[in-house]
């Protein structure tokens, strides 16, 4: 709006275009304020209150934040588990997905069949596919332990041993990564062939071609998947929730070994109805994600934008 005030020089035609343009994007403007800006400001306000829905919110200043940072043990576990996922799980997944994409890009026959096979897990309902993984990981009757037994190894408590539950989730997560594999594959197929051919004539081997040409050429796509997934992994919820949910509605695994940030936030807000306390958690998450995004953009010097873009 300020634009119209500062520049009264808009021609009649421009003003008309502005009116029509704003009319067309009006759902976005409403959505932006009602579903984004408004709630963000409100959740900041709630984060300074104690609010259990039944009684009106009561101002408590910074107490929620203080308690979270100084004395909430589960919150701290939630942060470290989530960081584990972001810093260990995510890099493993992205490297794995890239290797799969490079493999599929070797002009093998039957590509569309393989593409379908790797993609399908990522479009099935998360709960439905997690249920089968629950059964695969089952300590007593699971096929995975049966296989270990066959090889002569002792059984592992995939989901019950605090040491194993996060690696198990990462293992399962690789199965859901088909979407990223296909994004990488599509970008690999766009790398100009003559570039690779001339490098080959200059005597570059496969590894050199991959690291010096292919990966730099698709680095904007890699950067995009890192950003999107970092934000996504900080909100990691459904898989862990379904894997560790107990009959009483609680979740998080033995000794909170699979208690992730969003799960604790959900419990605080929708099972204990501490809306103020949960809002403080939401704002800390917001800040963490914001800082992570800024760091990623600041260190994006390795991303190569070629001339056509």
């Amino acid at each position: 709006m300020s634009i119209t005030f500062r520049r009264p020089k808009l021609t009649k035609q421009q003003r008309r275009a502005l009116m029509i343009g704003l009319l067309f994007i009006s759902p976005a403007i409403i959505g932006f304020f009602v579903f984004n800006i408004g709630p963000i400001v409100q959740s900041l306000q709630y984060s300074f209150t104690r609010y259990n829905i039944l009684q009106p919110p009561r101002w408590v200043g910074l107490n929620n934040y203080k308690f979270l940072i100084e004395s909430d043990r589960v919150f701290r576990i939630g942060i470290s588990n989530t960081l584990y996922m972001v810093l260990i799980g995510l890099p493993i997944h992205l490297v794995f997905n890239m290797l799969m994409a490079l493999l599929l890009n070797t002009k093998i026959r039957g590509l569309s069949i393989y593409r379908s096979i790797f993609y399908i897990p990522s479009i099935t309902p998360v709960v439905a596919s997690t249920i089968v993984w629950l059964w695969i990981f089952n300590g007593q009757f699971g096929i995975l332990n049966e296989f270990l037994k066959f090889l002569g190894f002792p059984a592992v408590g995939w989901l019950t041993d605090p040491k194993w539950v996060k690696p198990s989730l990462i293992f399962m997560g690789a199965w859901f990564g088909g979407n990223t594999i296909l994004i990488y594959l599509a970008s690999l197929q766009d790398v100009p062939y003559d570039l690779l051919e001339s490098a080959e004539l200059d005597g570059a081997n496969a590894l050199q071609k991959t690291f010096r040409i292919t990966l730099p050429m698709i680095s904007p796509v890699i950067f995009y998947t890192i950003i999107v997934n970092v934000i996504g992994y900080f909100q990691y919820f459904t898989e862990a929730w379904v894997m560790t949910a107990n009959r009483d509605g609680s979740a998080g695994g033995v000794a909170n070994s699979a208690m992730f940030y969003s799960m604790y936030l959900y419990q605080t807000a929708f099972q204990q109805f501490k809306m103020g306390y949960a809002s403080a958690q939401a704002w800390i998450l917001f800040m963490i994600v914001l800082i992570a995004t800024v760091i990623l953009f600041k260190t994006a010097g390795w991303v190569y934008y070629h001339a056509e873009d």
Binding site: F24, L103, F118, V127, T238, Q281
Partner: protein, 286 residues
């Protein structure tokens, strides 16, 4: 001369070996990716005794096909499926409708400030949904919407920044002369959108519709928060919460899970090209 022939032969052999290795790994990985789905179906076909048999039979000796039928009464399967389809369908409608208008407003109408406003709008993609979760819940609660489909559906009628981005990119590739010519003939912006752009946008709209459908169909957290009456649950809620409540009848859970996967898998097979094009498009964002 002989040396160079030799070199070439060597190369061909090397290429063959490389190719064989690539095939082997791809096939092993493909089998590994299929296995959980195979195991899902096999377990769905077992008797309740075979479920706990050790070692587990790799193929059920007498497949219990009736498990599939039984699973649809073990949980109110069709009711949950219907709820899921209704929510997903309305979400697709809202997203496609609103994103079309918004993208047109950003891409085809030349108003001052549109690019800056678009960038601000686009930044909402990076917002973690948890930040707005609680206030939105409280707003919907005050409106009396909690326990209905409305909180899950209505927000989608106000656009989705990622899909607006995709459609805008698409619209920018259509030459401006096309709409200018129509304008000279006296067409309004709405007329241009309806008669010229929408027919051209069909492939991009198909991508948005498909992705939105799959995303909503898979959702768990949204329904978990907003759907409180058992008869309103989606299939994902039904699968999980029934297991919690009545204990695991594994073969029936597996049968129901298999059935729950069928719609998106079928959709993928019928619209594979659209999916693949859409994935390439989302990657292009970089």
């Amino acid at each position: 001369m002989t040396a160079s022939i030799h070199w070439r032969e060597n190369r061909i052999v090397q290429d063959r070996i490389k190719r064989a290795i690539a095939y082997t790994i791809v096939i092993i990985m493909a089998v590994a990716y299929i296995f959980p789905l195979y195991w899902l179906i096999v377990t769905a076909l077992k008797t309740d005794l075979e479920i706990f048999q050790q070692p587990p039979p790799i193929f059920p000796p007498n497949p219990q096909w009736q498990n599939f039928g039984e699973s649809t009464t073990y949980i109110p399967f069709w009711r949950y499926m219907w709820n899921t389809i209704v929510i997903s369908g309305l979400t697709v409608l809202g997203t496609v409708l609103s994103c079309t208008f918004i993208a047109y407003g950003f891409a085809r109408i030349r108003w001052p400030g549109r690019n800056i406003i678009f960038l601000i709008y686009l930044s909402t993609i990076m917002l973690p949904s948890q930040v707005t979760l609680i206030p939105l819940y409280l707003i919907f609660r005050d409106l009396g919407w909690v326990g209905t489909f409305l909180p899950l559906v209505v927000p989608h009628f106000f656009g989705n920044a990622l899909y607006v981005f995709l459609l805008r990119q698409f619209l920018l590739t259509i030459p401006l002369e096309l709409s200018d010519a129509a304008k000279i003939d006296g067409a309004s912006e709405l007329g241009i959108l309806w008669h010229i752009m929408i027919p051209l946008m069909r492939p991009a709209l198909a991508v948005v519709a498909l992705f939105t459908f799959v995303q909503t169909y898979r959702d768990f957290l949204g329904p978990l928060i907003y759907l409180q009456n058992q008869q309103d649950w989606t299939i994902s809620l039904g699968l999980k919460l029934f297991q919690n409540m009545y204990g695991a009848q594994w073969q029936l859970m597996m049968a129901a899970s298999t059935l729950a996967m069928l719609p998106t898998i079928a959709l993928f097979f019928f619209t594979q090209k659209t999916f693949v094009r859409g994935i390439a498009l989302t990657g292009l964002k970089g």
